[in-house]
Subunit: 337 residues, 2 copies
DNA sequence: TTGAAAGCGCTAACAC
DNA sequence: GTGTTAGCGCTTTCAA
């Protein structure tokens, strides 16, 4: 396939390449008729500007990169997908390039965040899937393009944090369980290197404390956001500690594993033991009479992140934190009275 | 941020830019010591080759594009995500660039497939999410880079089709229902413009015919792969046609909607009415005593597609169709004896 | 309103 | 083993 170049169009049109460039880029100093003629010709010749050429000529396209750490083969909660499509659509709506990047622990060692940005010529960066322990978290000061993190607090005030108020959401969820009359509430958390887990646990503890209740260290377990692990931990927990009458889970997936354990132990979800999840994944409403859960909108998060970074690139917007809405959705697995 | 260029490195090293280029690209005609010195210096100077410059110089990076049509805010089945991560990992493993592209009906009109490929300088293309009616389906002959379609038969023999054998999978699933003693099997299909739907329906009909059973036109409904639509259609269908004793659904999501309808009508899934789904989404095992379903591995499909296109780019591989494995997973919603 | 010429960062012939 | 030079496709002064 021989690419049509601006030179071909110029030759065919009988003008200079400068004129073609100007015509195609809508510069004012071109005769309207010439412009029209050139545009039509270019179209007919299937001319597509060479992006590399444009970049070299000093007119590089702006591009927002979405960097996803630790991209897994599946995404049961749909979080990664939602964020991805949100960013993608925001970029589309604003007419800016979008590219997807991935990293993992190994590549974080081999290549600095700065080099990654340089290599991809990024104008803006959005990061998701990072843990507190990740190397890139210490390299934020090195990059000088607008940057946003999803679900992760960053120390750098230039970096935008996109998230729901996880602490308050957890507080609300646990408070609801307390209002349902439950007092022996255990928590099935995710992981100690996930910032959202820290925040949700903090909200859980705050709600318990506000009700004057102690939290036994044994009543908080980390299931690494996995349903099978959650099943096993809860299965044991409920036997060791039969007093438990409610579970607050840091994800719907873990809640599902927990519910399965509850039923396998001959207890009933929603009566013997109340369960609240987190996320509101698409099938949450079908499970166990409907899973009561904290809904968050990942698509929206992605979209907000994309829009915010675009705004920063264009020089507006300044906030350091952008809180997205959440909502406690009450269904059968935990319902008052 | 001022970018370090090859010129800077050359100046600093006291050699020509040619030598730097050769050293960094591991050409043999460079003194090993010079090479080492240059490499270290480049590293220290945080030098990152400008991709546009490389392209202009005639050394363009190869890149595989994954074009997803109609990217939705959510992906309940996880199909798109699985494909995406599969392609992504295949590209990573082969050291080739990966980029994500999207299209929709409107953009298919505004920009030809060829122009899209040209614009992104693609070396290879993988398409997913297309329907029989899509414009790009008629433009496959125009592109001259290796191309693969996922879950869509293409007329062009140069295009690789990546899919499971949907017809046979459906045949197997329905045959299983027949072996369970069910004879009045209705089908909840997806859509008439989805190629997989056509194939699955054909397999369903073939299995029924092989058992000497007629299929009433009323016993095949299209729910557009949506759980709510499936719910409504099944709710009505079961009342109009109380003889139905089994449902074959073209997706788990629709099966879930169907099951809900069944239960809302006071019947029992897995006894009164057997239900078989399609996909085996992560939570299928938790629903209705476990959803019996046809498992397909989207991650694998994506990976196979990525690998195959890479192979074609490198000049190996020739097949037109690449069948991925599927498997009937029997659980509570439809189980023999 | 148009065009000639320089230059972006890099690679690749070819000469030394 | 190393350097000189040309050129990739484009944009952008600046002169006409």
């Amino acid at each position: 396939m021989v690419r049509t170049t601006i030179r071909d169009v110029a030759r065919q049109a009988g003008v200079s390449i400068t004129t073609v460039s100007k015509a195609l880029n809508d510069y004012s100093d071109v005769n309207p008729e010439t412009r029209k003629r050139i545009k039509e010709l270019a179209e007919k010749m299937n001319y597509v500007p060479n992006a590399a050429g444009r970049t070299m000529g000093g007119k590089a396209d702006k591009v927002i990169g979405l960097l996803i750490n630790d991209l897994k083969p599946t995404d049961p909660s749909g979080a990664v997908y939602g964020i991805l499509s949100g960013v993608c659509h925001a970029c589309q709506d604003n007419g800016i390039e979008f590219i997807l990047l991935t990293s993992d622990i190994l590549r974080q060692q081999q290549e600095t965040l700065k080099v990654l940005c340089l290599k991809k010529q990024l104008t803006g960066l959005i990061c998701s899937g990072f843990r507190i322990s990740d190397r890139y978290m210490d390299q934020l000061a090195d990059i000088d393009i607008p940057c946003a993190f999803i679900d992760m607090r960053t120390p750098d005030s230039r970096v935008l944090d996109i998230t729901i108020d996880n602490q308050r959401a957890a507080f609300d969820a646990v408070s609801y369980l307390l209002r349902c009359g439950r007092k022996n509430i255990a928590m099935v958390n995710g992981s100690t290197v996930a910032d959202v887990s820290l925040l949700r646990e903090s909200g859980y503890r705050a709600a318990m404390a506000a009700a004057g209740l102690e939290v036994s260290p044994l009543r908080v377990v980390n299931a690494n956001f996995d349903d099978i692990v959650a099943y096993n931990l809860v299965w044991r927990l409920l036997q060791d500690d039969p007093g438990i009458d409610a579970l607050f889970c840091a994800s719907d997936l873990m809640a599902i594993g927990a519910c399965r354990a509850i039923e396998d132990l001959g207890k009933r979800v929603g009566s013997d033991i109340f369960v609240v999840g987190f996320d509101d994944i698409p099938i949450a409403k079908y499970l166990y009479g409907g899973l009561t859960t904290v809904r968050q909108d990942f698509y929206r998060m992605g979209y907000v992140a994309g829009q915010a970074i675009y705004d920063r690139i264009e020089g507006t917007s300044k906030a350091h934190t952008d809180d997205v809405m959440y909502e406690l959705v009450v269904r059968g697995s935990a319902r008052a009275g």
